[in-house]
Symmetry: C2
């Protein structure tokens, strides 16, 4: 227990004093390599063989055991350890035996991805505890890695090969540059369209992004368009000029509508289907803050934040999920926040709305699963935006460094995670809340 | 988002510079008042009437609406808001309308307890989101409260009156002094023994505590004995003298056994039943750390930590839960750690073991529910022990202040939470992990 605080606090203090230049993170380049250097794929689980074969198919060199690795003498681009078959805690030592030498040789911006079995799907208590233990390893290891390297965990239920592959691909890639110390649960799906263009995985899809006129929303529009989607950029009428600029930039269309207005959902559906023929992806990004301590909170601040950030989504979803709305195998992605997980001083209203969004994602994902529709959320941490640029320097400098990657994230990092949720390959990923926070210290 | 970091970081920096004296927390005194000052009980949920009637029965003055409160002009000891019937996010504004004036008048060491419905038991998406939103409110509000006041949340499934009452009592009392910003899920139970002596709620119960020779374990033994239990203090033979002293102090018996030894569980059962006639409460507290970065971790460090902290519990539970073991309506409580939730640098082994403990609690609680046995965990944060006393001053000072109560907890705070899990009234509380951390900033 002592070490928990001495190490975290000590290293944070040291960092603040020294203020070293953080590592420039490796971000996704369409057509570029998935990751740099050979990938160690090890472990006796049910996914390792398939992952190795898939990487081989991509032309990425793999090594299958630690001896091979030691012989190469070079750095390792990534380490994928499949412990999904482990049923006793003693088997966790395999992580160390197989992984430690490779992690020691990990390249800058390297990746560690553990693959396990979702503990909730395991009936044996010892096996369930063993699988849950992987989460403790990943969260600890992510705090040890340096130079932009990350560690994340994929927990599969059943034979979720497609979804495991999709999640492993995401975590190996530059798309997950600012996603660190996360656990994602994935399951099987009835997906049939396994062949997508890797350069344009969203080709043929129509995506709606709310709050798209600026900041993170505009970047979501850009990334979805880059990945092949036709984008409908939505924002309030006063943001019309900025919205039009974004829509033009991404060769999509603009729709001026207040998400809290009656009929906003219907207008979105009609626009998408009328102008573009379908509605496949909806990103509920629009959100506001109106901070005030709870004891001084007024009705307007409370109501506006809950209405824009949460109630509007519930209302729009009625039309979006209703007759003639989003297509089967559609995607709904919400933008939550660390404040909805950890809470935040001055933000009882915002924290309520964003925790509510997480509740919405959890409940709705189960209800629309039989239609093949997934519902997920991102929870951004410290992202470099116009808003954070207004924080005084010293405070901002500490805030952006209170995470394992020792820097703030970019709007694109949030957008890339949303882009992954939207992919056909992520059909087995639903009900998840993925933090895009560089493994912020803050949590619940 | 900006405010998330500016407020947290800003206030933390200010605190470190000023280093104000933290509020002396109100802790449980047997026979003392449950809380100080009148309690506002408000909200239209299904538990408010019962809670008010119960408090009236205890002789604690209650006020039922904000006008009454305003008229009294005095401070409020606690605020209990029952939003369990809320089905639309717009109803969350009731928290502000009913609660804000009372929170403004909250006494030192006051309490805010929200009561809701477990979102997982609600099928309507809007209602589920609304209930989940309460978590965002509580976690944010807990970060705003000052002077030792806390905010916590009770989420009930169904008509869990007994368990709600038990949880509200815990959160109002000094037992929860260092529990802040937590959400506890409670359910119905088949409990029949509703009449317990409030001075000795564990009277007639036999409790085993592992790792009881010192620190938190010794304090658990003291608290359980104070609450009426007959305590079997367990520790390794080398700690025999200290163990005997603790056993004598609590008028219990000592059992020298290594929890990792073959037959440890059987010996515990035989001792408890042979010497004291039954086995009702088991607290798996024994644990070790052997820190090392993952890349340098050796087999001994890894193995010892996983074996003592996790595997031993699984093995002992076989005997404890087997034929002739723990009584029906027994209690199993494990000691996890924030490191098992958030991870920690240098503690991949420890984090694995403690995350595993959480997995064990989750899985086992479901399997033994039909026997009336509950399985829960505490997850301590920065607790003032011999271990933390060895941290260098400046680091220790920051570590102990990185939480909403701006101080470290006492071993007794961990013990009091375990004591609550052990109570007959907490029969509907199972599968829970309650952090005893003053709402540490650290989390996942």
């Amino acid at each position: 227990m002592a070490d928990l605080f001495s190490s975290i606090v000590g290293s944070q203090v040291a960092k603040r004093v020294g203020v070293p230049q953080p590592t420039r993170l490796r971000r996704h380049v369409p057509g570029g390599p998935l990751c740099e250097g050979p990938v160690l794929v090890a472990g006796g689980g049910r996914f390792a063989e398939g992952i190795a074969a898939w990487l081989d198919g991509l032309g990425i060199p793999t090594v299958r055991n630690v001896d091979d690795q030691t012989r190469t003498g070079t750095t390792v681009g990534a380490v994928v350890l499949d412990l999904s078959a482990a049923t006793d805690p003693s088997e966790l030592d395999q992580l160390r035996v197989l992984g430690a030498p490779a992690v020691k040789a990990l390249a800058r911006n390297g990746r560690v991805v553990l693959v396990g079995t979702d503990p909730a799907t395991v009936t044996d208590v010892g096996a369930s505890a063993t699988q849950r233990a992987l989460e403790g390893v990943v969260r600890s290891l992510a705090k040890e890695l340096r130079h932009g390297a990350t560690a994340n965990l994929v927990l599969a239920s059943g034979d979720a090969r497609d979804a495991v592959r999709s999640a492993v691909e995401f975590f190996l890639s530059g798309r997950s540059a600012y996603v660190d110390g996360q656990a994602v649960r994935v399951g099987t799906s009835t997906r049939t369209d396994t062949d997508t263009d890797p350069l344009r995985p969203l080709a043929g899809k129509v995506a709606v992004v709310t709050g798209a006129a600026r900041g993170i929303g505009a970047e979501i529009a850009r990334v979805l368009a880059r990945d092949g989607a036709t984008v409908v950029a939505v924002d309030v009428p006063p943001a019309g000029d900025a919205l039009a600029a974004v829509a033009n930039e991404v060769k999509g269309t603009a729709l001026q509508v207040d998400v809290t207005a009656d009929g906003a959902g219907r207008r979105i559906v009609e626009h998408a289907k009328g102008r573009h023929g379908s509605l496949d992806i909806v990103v509920h990004n629009a959100g506001i803050t109106r901070d005030k301590l709870f004891v001084n909170m007024d009705e307007d601040r409370w109501g506006a934040v809950v209405d824009v950030n949460l109630r509007s989504i519930l209302r729009m979803n009625e039309a979006i999920l209703g007759e003639g709305g989003i297509s089967d195998d559609g995607r709904i992605v919400c933008v939550a926040s660390i404040a909805g997980i950890a809470g935040n001083r001055g933000q009882t209203n915002y924290g309520a709305s964003k925790a509510g969004v997480i509740g919405l994602v959890t409940a709705l994902s189960e209800q629309v699963a039989d239609r093949g529709i997934t519902v997920n959320a991102v929870a951004p941490g410290f992202i470099e935006t116009e808003m954070t640029a207004r924080i005084p320097f010293a405070t901002r400098e500490i805030g952006r460094r209170m995470n394992s990657l020792q820097q703030g994230g970019q709007p694109r990092d949030v957008a890339e995670t949303i882009g992954w949720f939207a992919q056909p390959g992520a059909a087995g990923v639903t009900g998840q809340v993925v933090r895009v926070c560089g493994q912020s210290l803050l949590g619940a």
